[in-house]
């Protein structure tokens, strides 16, 4: 265990700023195909939902595009992580899931991941399926379900958004670690490698999840203060809640 910790400490300086995405070429072909197969049904459902919504409201498609651009920008922003002494970046899917729902958020994350893979080499085309599953599907659903669950239990908007952001980020990292371990393990046993990868990520990602939670809460609180109409339109809060708060 001590050796494991020392080696994890050795690996920390190499922990990349954009480790949220699995880089192009890491996964062998069968794994890349398998993750694509896992991601496709969710993207298809997202597209179906988008088509239904954009028939009712023509502005929904441009809105989804612009939100994809926002997620792209947020996940390109370096955030200093105090414990690791490096910079990392939030994923932004928790925020998108709260505002637009998990299916639309999965689609938005897919678009954002495609653009990042093509133009910034963050992630890749061969690993797009795996990245959609971890960041798009698991991140979005973890964030959305946490937010809705906490709100139904009476939590305040800020607390629910904070924990949704935290959950979305940590769930994404757990999934990324799982995907990485299964893809690069070779003849090695799976669980010990998963443990090592998670251990190497923990010092960066644990605080980063909290930062992402704070960012999501800050965003929702700002929207409630300045533009509650957006939250009402997206069914995040009820119209009565805005009136009650003055």
């Amino acid at each position: 265990m001590v050796k494991l910790l020392v080696c994890a400490a050795l690996l920390l300086p190499a922990a990349p700023a954009h480790a949220m995405h699995i880089s192009e070429g890491i996964l062998p072909l069968p794994w890349a195909v398998a993750w694509y197969a896992a991601a496709l049904p969710f993207v298809a459902l997202g597209i179906r939902q988008l088509n239904v919504l954009s028939r009712q409201d023509l502005s929904f498609k441009p809105l989804a595009g612009l939100m994809a651009a926002v997620v792209f920008i947020i996940s390109c922003m370096p955030v200093p992580v105090p414990t690791a002494g490096t910079c990392s970046h939030p994923c932004g899917t928790g925020m998108a899931a709260i505002l637009l729902g998990p299916m639309a958020s999965t689609l938005i994350a897919s678009v954002s991941l495609l653009l990042q893979a093509l133009f910034l080499s963050h992630g890749g085309l061969s690993t797009l399926g795996a990245n959609i599953v971890s960041m798009g599907v698991i991140g979005s659903f973890a964030g959305y379900l946490t937010f809705k669950g906490l709100r139904s239990m009476g939590a305040s908007l800020a607390v629910a958004a904070f924990l949704a952001g935290v959950q979305a980020d940590w769930a994404t990292y757990l999934a990324t670690s799982f995907e990485l371990a299964s893809g690069i393990r070779g003849a090695e046993p799976f669980l010990p490698l998963l443990e090592k990868i998670m251990l190497a990520f923990v010092p960066t990602q644990l605080p980063l999840g909290i930062l992402e939670g704070a960012m999501t809460a800050g965003m929702v609180v700002l929207l409630k203060r300045k533009r509650p109409d957006i939250l009402v339109r997206m069914h995040v809060i009820e119209a009565g809640e805005v009136k009650a708060n003055g």
């Binding site: 020392v6 190499a14 700023a17 612009l66 653009l115 930062l211 929207l223």
Partner: protein, 249 residues
């Protein structure tokens, strides 16, 4: 970011049909991912980087593209070196602990590293020599759903505007000591994100109004594809045959 988003539009490669370039890149990607050794991925990386350099792609652009993958390669090689294998390659002591690097781990790590560099180089070459709209048209030709393409086009079109807005807000916050402590930094980052979301919502409304006035009915007009040119198909096939033979070896 602007440096990475530029494409090289002034060379022969840029004028080749986007569909042929995309199919060739996908075939190369499959070969790189399924290669049994490190030679083919590295040869592919070398070829793509050489073509980029010959066609005048600045070294800075390539370095920016490879910065993150290089970090990941380093991390994976270290992870594999210290944790995989049984044949010791070297041993050192750190605070009384014996750390051993293994031969099998190093070989495996370098194999994965070569795959990453090959795949990243293929994608870099594809994107640098293909205009974005051609790439999207090629994806549409490959039956990627239109809604997905539409959103990607919207995102692409307004990415730069939002990015510039984000830069202005960030600079203003920084000048007012908005990032002078973690607490303040978090609040500023939340405000920045919220402001971007508000801008996205407002822009989507004004964009829709403007587009509806121009006849927008929920679908975006896509670029018309030109017919395939036999010379380009032949060149693509010849190139892939050569690479396929290398892959087989």
């Amino acid at each position: 970011m602007h440096q990475l988003l530029k494409h090289n539009g002034d060379c022969l490669l840029s004028h080749i049909d986007g569909r042929i370039k995309l199919l060739t890149a996908l075939a190369l990607l499959v070969m790189v991912l399924s290669a049994g050794g490190w030679q083919f991925p590295l040869a592919t990386a070398g070829l793509c980087i050489t073509v980029c350099r010959i066609r005048g792609v600045p070294v800075k652009t390539l370095l920016l593209r490879f910065a993150e993958p290089c970090f990941i390669i380093l991390m994976i090689v270290l992870l594999k070196l210290f944790f995989t294998g049984t044949t010791p390659l070297f041993t050192f002591h750190l605070n009384g602990l014996q750390i051993t690097g293994y031969r099998e781990g190093l070989v495996e790590g370098l194999m994965i590293g070569s795959r990453i560099s090959g795949a990243v180089a293929v994608m870099a070459a594809l994107v640098i020599f293909t205009p974005f709209t051609d790439l999207m048209a090629a994806l549409a030709w490959l039956r990627v759903p239109r809604s997905f393409i539409d959103i990607t086009l919207f995102a692409w079109r307004y990415l730069f505007l939002l990015f510039d807005d984000a830069k202005v807000i960030y600079s203003a916050q920084k000048n007012r000591l908005g990032y002078s402590g973690y607490r303040k930094g978090l609040r500023s980052f939340g405000t920045l994100t919220g402001t971007l979301v508000i801008k996205a919502f407002d822009s989507s409304q004004s964009i829709t109004t403007a587009m509806v006035q121009r006849g927008y009915d929920g679908t975006m007009p896509m670029l018309k594809q030109k017919p395939f040119r036999s010379v380009e198909i032949a060149a693509g096939c010849a190139f892939l045959t050569c690479m396929g033979m290398l892959w087989k070896i």
